[in-house]
Symmetry: C2
Subunit: 142 residues, 2 copies
């Protein structure tokens, strides 16, 4: 999560909502990304999506069984769906997103039935830091 | 939907699950795409995602207010989330996806509360054609 947080710091410096993500396989980080929605001017480029695109390229495989995804903010519906589609083993997130979070906050992912794949979910890792950087970002925006 | 179906035909010819998508603004098609998951070896590249990436580039805007998205198959959770994030006005789909559909089938999108945006939803347009091309594809795979 430290590496994901470092990615969030990059987003902060680029004036993007500070969310960072890494994907780990066999104890090694295989992809790193941060939110680039504003730079790309496209709502698809959340940290998780770009990280999965990079990881798939590296693995040369859409199927990320054996990989874990670390992200500083609870994923939204788009990113949660992409994680399911990519068959990622586990999601570890920093702080919750009460409004858009699709794992435990706004949508309770585990209550959706009939999906192809259910990753493990762990939240609250480096919660204070991951939350604080977002608060600072939005305070500066006001 | 005819144009979206033509995109699905392209996917079929490329041995991809035949799903096609177009985005329309002011009665003009501004982006076309088809599923390229296998070619890109990445589960992110559903027809809808690539179509939204293309449309955002064309509009130079992540916010697709005023745009409608036509897709031959009911979108999955990832694509539905991306449509919400991109603020697309309306989704028109061909046939339902009983297993992965996140609008009306497996997930009932309208019952999720608290999202930033709720696009209009219309299903069943060219349903028979959109369904048949998928059936033929999967029959050939057996």
């Amino acid at each position: 999560m430290i590496a994901a947080y470092q990615e969030a710091l990059k987003a902060f410096k680029e004036d993007e909502v500070p969310v960072g993500c890494v994907i780990v396989k066999d104890d090694k980080i295989i992809a790193r990304a941060h939110n680039r929605k504003e730079k790309k001017n496209c709502a698809i480029y959340h940290a998780e999506i770009e990280c999965m695109i990079k990881a798939a390229r590296k693995l040369n495989n859409w199927n990320m069984t054996g990989c874990d995804l670390y992200v500083t903010l609870e994923p939204c519906m788009m990113c949660t769906g992409a994680i399911v589609n990519s068959r990622i083993d586990n999601i570890v997130f920093g702080c919750r997103d009460p409004k858009g979070g699709a794992l435990v906050s706004n949508v309770e992912f585990k209550r959706i039935e009939g999906l192809n794949h259910y990753p493990g979910i762990e939240g609250g890792v480096m919660e204070e830091e991951c939350s604080q950087i977002l608060k600072t970002f939005f305070r500066n925006k006001r």
